[in-house]
């Protein structure tokens, strides 16, 4: 009798096995790889890039084998709504599978959305446990839906390509966690990698394809986009914030012709705020061990003091790039992307408390001095460039 009661009891609870409610079959799930968010007047446009497992053949193939026929291995679905959750709900209504955000790799914010302010969207994309705060966040010129609809030959999905390009372009690209932290921290403003469409000629002038590229840094003031930095200015800010991924710096060496390129293998940046006569000054100390990647000049590396000249020229170039970037941030955008205010708080909270209410007026006037110290660790496999003749070398 007792055994019978135990068996009945156990069987009863088997009926309540929790796998039933939260059971998700793999062919009932739509894996969302990327989300693009745009603002259209008062509405949010959310574009989702969803993987199509049935279409996933070899990388770069136009289609896969199997019943679903040829075509891309991903699909884009776009809808508008009063909020992002509202737009997702409308998308769900037309999809045969449940949207599943656990594998989302990137979030792309369109230009209009970024200019309107990204604070409202950060909460939505992190409140549900299924969403991961480790997704990369990028901004784009124009609409995010166009950024997600681009060609990729080397990767299966554009989202994967964008993620890998971001990894190559910068060290630890910003994730939702990083964006949320910066928005909540006083004395620092946000920068995001900026995507842009680039037209590239293929073999013939008529064969022009559009690719998505990282064009620079999107600069924010609080949560609103205020501008962008490109080229050397963007690299300068990446160097100053310790975010450049093995940066390559190319420069001219005095008394030589041609350029030298160096790769910064290990570098360290230190921001030192100081207060003198009630004025804040900032010194950026940059130290790097570099590798001579290419010597396109006529400098013979193994002779005289050429190495010291190259180191000084490299240091001057790095200082110039950082100074240019900081000047643009201070004068043009008034955006404290370096986190000078935050650095001041970490070093001396009492001083920060004194200045923080006037930080917007003080920040553009802060003199910034950059001290770069470059040490050439390796010169490559050549001591002298192969091109110039012996008599043409600069020593």
């Amino acid at each position: 009798m007792k055994l019978f009661r135990v068996l009945v009891f156990s069987l009863f609870f088997c009926l309540l096995l929790t796998g039933c409610w939260d059971r998700k079959e793999i062919n009932d799930i739509a894996f969302v790889l990327a989300t693009g968010i745009d603002k259209e007047s008062n509405l949010y446009r959310v574009t989702l890039q969803i993987a199509l497992p049935g279409q996933m053949g070899a990388i770069g193939s136009a289609g896969g084998s199997g019943g679903t026929g040829g075509g891309k291995s991903w699909l884009l679905d776009s809808a508008t709504g009063n909020s992002i959750r509202d737009a997702n709900q409308r998308q769900q209504e037309s999809l045969s599978r449940l949207l599943y955000f656990s594998h989302r790799r990137i979030i792309v914010i369109g230009e209009n959305m970024a200019r309107a302010g990204i604070e409202p969207i950060i909460e939505v994309i992190s409140s549900v446990p299924q969403n991961r705060v480790s997704s990369y966040v990028l901004a784009t010129r124009g609409a995010a839906k166009n950024a997600l609809n681009n060609q990729t030959k080397m990767e299966k999905f554009p989202a994967e390509k964008i993620r890998k390009v971001a990894d190559i372009w910068m060290n630890n690209p910003p994730t939702i966690k990083d964006v949320a932290n910066v928005l909540q921290t006083e004395g620092i403003d946000l920068t995001l990698p900026l995507l842009a469409e680039v037209k590239k000629n293929q073999l013939t002038p008529e064969d022009v394809k559009e690719y998505i590229n990282i064009d620079g840094l999107a600069v924010f003031k609080r949560d609103k986009l205020v501008g962008s930095l490109e080229g050397n200015q963007a690299r300068g800010i990446l160097l100053a914030t310790n975010k450049a991924e093995t940066p390559i710096v190319t420069f001219r060496v005095p008394q030589t012709n041609g350029r030298v390129s160096i790769l910064c293998r290990n570098y360290k940046v230190d921001l030192q705020p100081t207060i003198q006569n009630n004025k804040i000054n900032l010194t950026i100390n940059f130290k790097a061990d570099v590798y001579v990647l290419a010597n396109e000049s006529n400098a013979a590396l193994g002779t005289g003091d050429i190495i010291q000249k190259i180191e000084q020229a490299a240091a001057s170039e790095v200082e110039k790039e950082i100074q240019d970037g900081v000047r643009t941030l201070q004068q043009k955008y008034h955006s404290d992307a370096l986190g000078i205010g935050d650095t001041l708080y970490r070093h001396n909270p009492k001083v920060w408390n004194r200045y923080k209410d006037n930080w917007d007026t003080l920040y553009p006037k802060i003199p910034v001095k950059v001290n770069a110290l470059i040490h050439i660790e390796q010169t490559g496999s050549l001591t002298t460039p192969l091109g110039p003749r012996q008599g043409d070398l600069s020593k």
Binding site: D22, V133, A180
Partner: protein, 353 residues
């Protein structure tokens, strides 16, 4: 009288105050103490050494008895009243832990499953475990808890690239008051270690076991809160319901080691089951001390079902559990510090001429 080894007692002691502590409380401590949250734990641990010492002295005066028996035998009427109060205290902790546990499962793991179903299965497992006796629960601790401890040892190495020391600076910028506020929140949870003398006699429970449990627990909790600060930052960790779970989701060692939260949960949930089972077992043991005719095994079932009902009756939603943490130390410290102090001065063997 339960016969447990020193090792089992140490594991049980550590489990008792760590596994539920790390669910939500770090978020509240970080919200008050910010970057100094790691300092908040230290006063709480130091304070709890005192009642442990006092209780070990009391147990030394009454060999071969656990604290329930000591209270009953030394002061039959007052002792029974104190035992009842302690049983109500432990029962409330059981309800709180049970509800916190099932809320965590519901929010983080099984969003669509009804809360009552999750609760029913959890309490059934704990009832079956408690019915087997404290020695079975102790052996379960030996199986699962060291693996959870191992995770806290290897976790720092998995975050070697993802930490930022800025988030712990500047130290004591807001003064000592927020740190002490954080200690206030932490002390009641850490003080639950005083359950040890209620389980075993002085032959097993010595001050040494209590201190080792406190030390291991201190390491685990400090390591987790420091990682929360360095990886998530005070801004994020203070706004999350389950910061340690989110911390585990941040582990990424290239593309190889992802979804570490699954591994953490695999070892953490059994430890939570064990705590609730142990608590149920201790309450049944205490009731049996007061009413010797009662069967412990059937008590577990009734008490488990009562805890299940009270878990839903007392708390409407997880936020009420968080709000409880603010005022709960005022009640808990009576049982964790004040009463042990009284026992130290008043619980002495009768003088026989």
């Amino acid at each position: 009288m339960a016969k447990l080894s020193n090792y089992q007692l140490i594991l049980m002691g550590t489990n008792f105050f760590t596994t539920v502590f790390i669910i939500s409380l770090p978020s509240q401590i970080i919200a008050t103490s910010r970057q100094d949250a790691w300092l908040s734990y230290l006063p709480a641990f130091l304070i709890m050494v005192i009642p442990l010492w006092m209780l070990s002295k009391v147990m030394h005066r009454f060999p071969d008895q656990d604290l329930f028996s000591v209270l009953k035998s030394r002061f039959p009427i007052v002792g029974s009243m104190l035992t009842s109060f302690y049983l109500l205290f432990f029962f409330f902790i059981l309800i709180r832990d049970f509800r916190m546990f099932i809320d965590f499962i519901s929010v983080a793991l099984l969003q669509r499953t009804p809360l009552t179903v999750i609760g029913g299965l959890v309490i059934l497992t704990c009832i079956l475990s408690a019915r087997s006796g404290v020695q079975v629960v102790a052996r379960m601790h030996e199986l699962f808890y060291p693996l959870l401890m191992l995770i806290t040892v290897i976790l720092p190495f998995l975050f070697y690239a993802g930490t930022d020391i800025r988030w712990m600076q500047p130290v004591l910028a807001q003064g000592v008051k927020p740190v002490l506020h954080g200690s206030w929140l932490a002390v009641s949870y850490i003080g639950e270690i005083i359950i040890l003398p209620f389980i075993v006699s002085n032959r097993t429970f010595q001050l040494k076991q209590g201190l080792i449990s406190l030390l291991i627990g201190a390491y685990m909790l400090e390591m987790l809160v420091v990682l929360n600060l360095l990886v998530l930052s005070p801004n994020l960790a203070s706004r999350m319901m389950y910061p340690n779970y989110e911390l585990a989701r941040e582990v990424r060692v290239t593309e190889f080691l992802d979804r570490f939260d699954s591994i953490l949960v695999t070892f953490w949930l059994p430890a939570l089951f064990q705590k609730i089972s142990l608590m149920l077992n201790v309450i049944c043991h205490g009731i049996k001390q007061m009413m010797p005719g009662v069967q412990e095994r059937s008590l577990s079932t009734s008490l488990g079902i009562l805890a299940f009902v009270c878990g839903f009756w007392f708390f409407e939603n997880p936020l009420q559990l968080l709000n409880l943490n603010g005022g709960w130390p005022a009640v808990a410290l009576i049982f964790e510090i004040l009463l042990p102090l009284c026992f130290y001065f008043m619980l002495k063997p009768r003088f026989h001429r």
